[in-house]
């Protein structure tokens, strides 16, 4: 019976007010100027797409910090295909790249979206595609186009067509507060609630295929770890031992969860086999706190937080067990580390004076760079292309999300209309945005 109800709990569209607003707080000098011309509609008047595809692309590119998108109102011409483009005009406006496109009807409720990316100086097409889509998938299609443009011009894969999961608390603080776990597009649109509770919800973690979330729920008065399919809402309780059941982290192959249990007396890191018999293997053994495990992208190491040295610091242990080594030495408080997608960096929470900030640790040099400026920043999570880190911060006492580029030069706030937001986790690439051959 419970399972049926949980399916019903899955995926609603939330009210309008739940949208995130993105405010760029710090820009980058030398962002690449690009003009994305409003896409033309080739069909019957008044029956065109309800989403402004060009504007979605423009915002995505702008948000990456790598591009300066020209506002549509400043455009003197609005060509819809390559043959209409006067490159000289765009050159005069200082644009290096230009995107034009059009939308055609394609069957019932369907569209065909065509776009072309040009190098203005050479007057050459760099890339062009026709993409069939539907009314419902228009935003996703726009994000895919932004990904293609981003990759073509920066050489780095785009991460616009990904999602972010986060926890939001609604209602008056403390008692009577409702907590929800939500999944939204990376630009904050289309938030959907996948679980709500009046008890704490914590520590969402994406499966490597982006189809499941593991999380901690106190819904029966005690913490338990659940794994829930994001699209169907079907879920399974995978850990409900005595004491702490916390900090789930998926192995890169998706077959194991690293987690924190205190069933044997104090918090230790365990590996839970998700396939077969749910076998448990203990990875750490120390009377101090061991928690917040995170896998290296090659699946060979696990970093975790431990106060075995007196203060919380990051340690590393081979995923198959073995000797524990200390990773962070700077400062009195370093916690909740996770690897960059290339495995060369850790992002973590670091105490600087009285403030808790987001740090980036270079694993080769050991150098720690502080990326954020808040008092209580936490829960950093890399974008799947490694370009940005999303994290939780407090603004005027309210939990908000923010993002920063890994070089620390570009910052933005992601402002929700309501609620107290925390624990953002950026999704991995999913099947739908897997690289084309």
């Amino acid at each position: 019976m419970k399972r049926i109800m949980l399916i019903l709990l899955a995926l609603w569209q939330l009210p309008a007010v739940a949208a995130l607003t993105i405010e760029i707080t710090e820009g980058v000098e030398g962002a690449l100027p690009i003009a994305v011309v409003p896409f033309g509609w080739q069909g019957e008047k008044g029956r065109g797409p309800t989403q402004d595809i060009a504007s979605i692309i423009r915002d995505d590119l702008q948000r990456s910090g790598r591009f300066a998108s020209m506002p549509a109102r400043e455009m003197l011409a609005r060509p819809q295909s390559g043959s209409d483009v006067e490159f000289r005009d765009w050159k005069v406006l200082g644009m290096e790249n230009l995107v034009v496109g059009q939308v055609q009807p394609n069957g019932s409720g369907g569209y065909l979206v065509r776009f072309q990316l040009f190098d203005v100086f050479k007057g050459e097409q760099l890339v062009g595609y026709s993409i069939p889509t539907t009314e419902r998938d228009l935003r996703a299609t726009a994000h895919h186009i932004a990904d293609i443009i981003y990759e073509k011009l920066t050489g780095q894969r785009g991460a616009f067509a990904t999602r972010v999961a986060y926890v939001i608390a609604l209602g008056k603080p403390v008692r009577g507060q409702k907590v929800a776990l939500r999944v939204a597009d990376a630009d904050g649109f289309s938030p959907q609630t996948i679980v709500t509770s009046t008890d704490p919800l914590m520590s969402p973690a994406w499966s490597p295929d982006g189809r499941k979330l593991a999380y901690v729920s106190f819904e029966k008065g005690r913490p338990a770890i659940y794994v829930q399919e994001v699209f169907t809402g079907r879920r399974e309780k995978v850990a409900a031992y005595k004491g702490i059941n916390g900090a789930p982290a998926w192995s890169p192959d998706g077959r194991k969860l690293a987690l924190t249990l205190s069933k044997d007396g104090n918090p230790e890191i365990y590996l839970l086999n998700l396939t077969g018999g749910k076998a448990l293997k203990r990875l750490t053994n120390h009377y101090a706190i061991d928690t917040e495990p995170a896998w290296s992208p090659d699946g060979r190491s696990i970093v975790f937080t431990s106060d075995r040295g007196g203060k919380p610091q990051i340690y590393r242990v081979p995923a198959f067990g073995g000797k524990v080594e200390r990773v962070t030495f700077e400062g009195r408080y370093n916690a909740r580390a996770s690897y960059s997608p290339d495995g060369r960096f850790l992002t973590l929470v670091t105490r600087q004076g009285k403030d808790y900030r987001i740090g980036l640790l270079d694993l080769d040099s050991g150098g720690l760079q502080v990326l954020s400026e808040g008092r209580l920043d936490e829960s950093p999570s890399f974008a799947p292309n490694g370009s940005m880190i999303i994290y939780a911060t407090k603004v005027s006492g309210k939990g908000e999300l923010a993002a920063v580029s890994v070089d620390g030069r570009f910052r933005q706030r992601l402002v929700l209309e309501e609620g107290d937001v925390r624990e953002p986790v950026w999704s991995p690439y999913t099947r739908s945005n897997r690289r084309k051959p």
Partner: protein
């Protein structure tokens, strides 16, 4: 202690009501985004998503009932793949102490308070008793019981030892500084520090349940040291 907690509430709610994010410079962007979503929630969607939109009523109306049903009906369920390692049932805290001559629990507490001075029930209701103190506070990143609370915890331990039918839930909590899962662990250390001292007075292991909420249930939602010192705590709940 319970009473003072209640007193804290209204004042803090007032303060919280005043929280507003400063929208000054990006009011425009905000408005346009609302427009977008509002539109996307009506005409712009496929049939399935539009159904989801109407579901908002469903969210507010039916979900609480479902959750309630979950809470009531779901406790004894075993259909989820339970693990062998799940410990002894721990949900029985509410029934603790109903047997015997000692009257405890939330309702008893309120009744005792309104009788005004006639502490006919248990020592737990006597403001003069150290047992009346149910919340003890900790230093930053510490699970050491401060000297001023030793007498309180010892008194609770002796009381529990003398009343083996009574059980207690010890909740560990932290302030909002630092990372959340580390705070869950720290909260458990605090609860366990209290538990060890209770056991040392002769309380039985079976009388004590510990749970950590980390920073998830602050007493005071403020974000300064005054609030945080209230949140770094262990609570004894009979």
């Amino acid at each position: 202690m319970k009473l003072s907690l209640l007193k804290l509430y209204p004042s803090r709610i007032g303060l919280a009501g005043g929280w507003r994010v400063d929208f000054r410079s990006w009011q425009g962007a905000t408005t346009s985004n609302i427009g977008y979503i509002a539109r996307s929630c009506t005409a712009a969607m496929g049939e399935k998503m539009r159904a989801g939109c109407r579901g908002n009523l469903f969210v507010t109306g039916i979900i609480p009932i479902m959750l309630l049903a979950l809470a009531i009906g779901g406790c004894s369920s075993t259909e989820e793949k339970a693990d062998e390692g799940v410990g002894a049932p721990v949900e029985e805290a509410g029934q603790a102490g109903s047997a015997g001559d000692v009257s405890v629990g939330g309702e008893a507490l309120v009744a005792g308070a309104t009788e005004g001075g006639a502490w006919s029930g248990s020592e737990l209701q006597d403001p003069q008793s150290p047992l009346y103190t149910r919340v003890i506070y900790f230093d930053y990143d510490s699970s050491e019981i401060r000297s001023e609370y030793l007498d309180v915890v010892v008194a609770h331990g002796e009381y529990l030892a003398a009343n083996p039918s009574v059980s207690v839930t010890v909740e560990g909590h932290t302030d909002e500084q630092g990372s959340r899962e580390y705070n869950i662990a720290l909260g458990e250390y605090r609860a366990n520090a209290v538990k060890r001292l209770l056991l040392a007075q002769g309380t039985q292991e079976s009388q004590i349940i510990t749970i950590s909420f980390g920073e998830e249930r602050p007493l005071d939602p403020g974000l300064d040291e005054a609030a945080w010192s209230q949140n770094r705590r262990a609570e004894l709940l009979y």
